[in-house]
């Protein structure tokens, strides 16, 4: 990392740690939600932004993770760390299997396959009452106590979300800089050429799906105790599209993209509440304007502003 990036990172982390001291519980809740959604968006950014595999299934994985934690902690008394790990592993495996269609279909066809999966998971969550309690939802999902540290208070749970976000960011930062990350990008840019250079496109495609989905599960495992009550409605296609929006608006394929995207998607609507009835319209117009001006998202826009005379073509 460059020096200014280190400084910026330190400032942002300090601000995130200090933030809950000046916020009301609702503000802390929103910041926690931002952290959770960032994790899910980081996962989707890996699958979509780096490896180029469009997925509308991320909401389903958030749902699987959330229900895994909710069911096991409330009904079976599992400790949170165990359900957290199981949720991630479960989503990894299911994501791996969902990757198989991606080996055969691409682009909008793949979008439809993953869309169908989201709908399927939603129907299971709603209809299989014996397992999920259906539309009645699961209440009283406990916030965990870890090594004697109770995260019952909003501020403590926020710090837990922040710690997980930090760990996930650190892991993915290293992943996208490893040869794997390079292979993912090769998959996105030119799978035929990648294959002719020995890149096992099948294995990397499945991995991109599995890891991205596992992060959806991680986000879900935090989502359930954050909200303390879940029913199937948050895990519809709308959340998948919202996560897709976060990735695209933030800047698909940029490491920082999902963090910014989650700000736009989670916090901006709250800030716009002052505009009352108009806030959804303002929000929609702002997003449309951004996409029209800069399809590569906020970071693409920033890059253009900082380097207006970007090198075009060869010398």
């Amino acid at each position: 990392m460059k020096r200014w990036q280190c400084v910026a990172l330190a400032l942002v982390v300090a601000a995130l740690i200090a933030a809950p001291f000046s916020l009301k519980p609702h503000g802390i809740y929103l910041l926690s939600m931002w952290a959770v959604m960032s994790i899910a968006a980081i996962g989707l950014n890996l699958t979509l932004g780096y490896a180029g595999q469009i997925s509308l299934a991320q909401a389903a994985f958030v749902g699987i993770g959330a229900y895994c934690t909710a069911i096991l902690t409330t009904m079976h008394g599992w400790p949170f760390p165990a359900t957290f790990a199981l949720g991630a592993v479960l989503c990894f495996v299911v994501g791996w299997l969902l990757g198989y269609p991606a080996l055969r279909v691409q682009h909008h066809y793949l979008a439809f396959v993953t869309l169908a999966f989201t709908t399927l998971v939603f129907l299971v969550l709603r209809n299989e009452e014996w397992l999920t309690k259906g539309i009645y939802g699961i209440v009283g999902i406990p916030r965990p106590t870890l090594l004697g540290w109770s995260t019952k208070e909003p501020r403590d749970f926020y710090y837990l979300c922040l710690i997980v976000l930090g760990l996930v960011s650190w892991l993915i930062w290293h992943l996208v800089r490893s040869p794997w990350g390079r292979a993912f990008m090769a998959l996105r840019e030119n799978p035929v050429r990648a294959s002719s250079l020995g890149v096992d496109t099948r294995r990397y495609t499945l991995m991109a799906f599995a890891i991205g989905s596992a992060l959806g599960g991680v986000a879900g495992s935090l989502y359930a105790p954050l909200v303390e009550f879940i029913d199937p409605t948050p895990f519809t296609l709308a959340l998948s599209l919202n996560l897709l929006l976060m990735v695209i608006v933030g800047g698909s394929g940029y490491f920082v993209g999902p963090f910014l995207g989650a700000i736009v998607s989670v916090l901006l609507p709250e800030w716009l509440r002052v505009a009352e009835g108009l806030y959804l319209i303002i929000y929609a117009v702002a997003v449309m304007a951004l996409m029209a001006v800069c399809p590569s998202g906020l970071l693409g826009l920033a890059e253009r502003l900082i380097r207006p005379a970007a090198k075009k073509g060869a010398p």
Binding site: S178, P179, W180, R182, A183, N190, L197, G198, D200, G313
Partner: protein, 247 residues
Amino acid sequence: MSTVLEVRGLSKRFGGISAVADVSFEVQEGEILGIIGPNGSGKSTLFNCILGQLQASSGSVHVDGRPVTGLRPCDLNRLGVSRTFQLLQVFPQLSVRENLILAGQEHKGTMWSRLIGRRDAGLTDAANRMIEFFRLGHLAEQKAGGLSYGQQKLLDAAMAFMAGPRLVLLDEPAGGVNLTMLGDLRERLRAINAEQKATFVVIEHNMEFVMSLCTRILVLAEGRIIAAGSPSEVRANPQVIEAYLGH
């Protein structure tokens, strides 16, 4: 000398059309074999069948005596069979050096070591040497998509050689490359052929280039081999002249 590539009775049909019909040939170690033929004579289809990008309708391919028919391109590549493409096939968003590291990384270690190992898989030096060899030094940090056509063509070739392949199939390496670079490219290819004992099969339309580079030439027309021999023999063959000029 041993046989590096052996193609036996290879055919590829698309519906009722035979793109490649019963093609058999062998390539010896260290040889530079040229394949020429009019447009649509099945040269690229032949390449794609050999390399597993297309499934051959019948026939077999052996590399170093080992059957490789039906292997995936990535598995074949890891056996030491590399290729370049007719149309530009680089990774535009990656830098020149990253393109080259990618071209070598899957030949080292395991999936696991590539995950937790060094970011460059220990290939930066090898990539830099390849960059110097193809005289792309001033462009190492630039995104490949910003290079000129000829430079991308050189990068494409450099990527094919990155893992020290045993056999390289080059699909029109000279296409769209200007005259100065062409001589350069020929010298590079000759040097690699001599130094690394790499065996080449070259598809090319540029007659002057192919005649001066190759030791032996096959002529393909309508999916069949109609002539084979040294450049001078092929040039004098009346069937070849007819295939090119028509009736």
